[in-house]
Symmetry: C2
Subunit: 233 residues, 2 copies
Amino acid sequence: MKKYLAIYHDLLSDIQAKKFEAGEILPSNQQLVLRYGVSRETVRKAMQLLADEGYIQTIRGKGSLVLDNERLLFPLSTIKSYQEIVDQNNLKSQSRILKEVSHVLVPDRLRFGSPAIYAQLIVRERIVSGEPTILDYDYVNEAITPDIPLKSGDSLFNYFEEKRGFNIDYAVKHLTVESAEYDDCHYLKIDQSVPMLVVRSETHLADNRILAYTESRHRGDKFSSVEFARRHH
Amino acid sequence: MKKYLAIYHDLLSDIQAKKFEAGEILPSNQQLVLRYGVSRETVRKAMQLLADEGYIQTIRGKGSLVLDNERLLFPLSTIKSYQEIVDQNNLKSQSRILKEVSHVLVPDRLRFGSPAIYAQLIVRERIVSGEPTILDYDYVNEAITPDIPLKSGDSLFNYFEEKRGFNIDYAVKHLTVESAEYDDCHYLKIDQSVPMLVVRSETHLADNRILAYTESRHRGDKFSSVEFARRHH
DNA sequence: CAGTGGTCTAGACCACGGG
DNA sequence: CCGTGGTCTAGACCACTGC
């Protein structure tokens, strides 16, 4: 199903496999119409997805230019699981579960005015290049999915989408810079002088229910993110 | 021209003017087709823009739900000028030019592998609620637009787009957390212990030329950003 | 069942780039 | 001039919601 997504993924994997290098021009709309046997509007939907996510730039009269997407690392403006980011960037990384508690009330600082709910709390640390770098607190809405069976290496997103068939739609993320707390110092083996980049997010399903609240605490001295932004007129 | 943009802006201004509150359902595609006298695909283009930017959530079988967009503050994943952000959030803010130098070579740390160019450097401080909070270093490509006439209150983007007719297309932004430098301490009246949130960006025109490099240095203890992210399948 | 949004089509005209 | 991408149309079928 969904022809435009098939074309999108097909072209994207060619770009990521370097069959198209940065600076090259993709096949024209018309060529893709013939290749895939679809209408032009369907081709253009695929191209717009690629453009929105920073893989190509369309230039009228010329064609669709492949951009340098080597550097898209840890973007905050997309919903990617930690595992997806690790995979895409060929990082060496491990995760370790530090704590798991059921029936916890989600703290105020994560909710930004949304109603309080009970959740299952999962605390994990992410170890990048042998060094503990990120602390993740996931509060998963009990009303939607209680009792998550989690092994150390599992991805929560993968469980939600593949195993449970949930349709994750969007997230609202708040970024701040804060001082290291006791847990940061204790688990990440840093002292209070290291600033933390904190991302608090609220993840929604396609029916607008809140699936989870997450607090991701990154060592500031190790944090790096590359965003792609388009200008809309 | 561009009917879908007209519809987008029309609906957006209604949302921002609270004619549609968060939680309400927008008029259906069919109603908008009749109201604007356009085809359904044109209506849907406008709706997709609204959805992409986090103003609405479309729910199949129900309608287009208006989201709570009160809190979209200082998003890094869109290209907005400082002036646009200030206007949208009703902030009290001033800008002051600190330095202006012609024919400067853009430093390595801003370029991430892009070729070195000569630029006009403009250094400004942004004063929010009476307190100097952000230092901006703009390196504008001399080959594209030399000798920018700048008064203290002017917006660079406004000059590029309105006065010069440039078509800004996209930017790549690098986020890091760094220690305060001499200039940070001097102009922002802080000491070295305050961490800085640094955004370095490369702004491209529609023909893919680089218009400018920018380094924005935010006081970490005052920094706050809200992002909207969609999940693509 | 009627109404909603999601996908897809075949065709048209426009604006821009480059030879 | 021709080929490119950008916009728009009228109509079709599907999947889902809610009554």
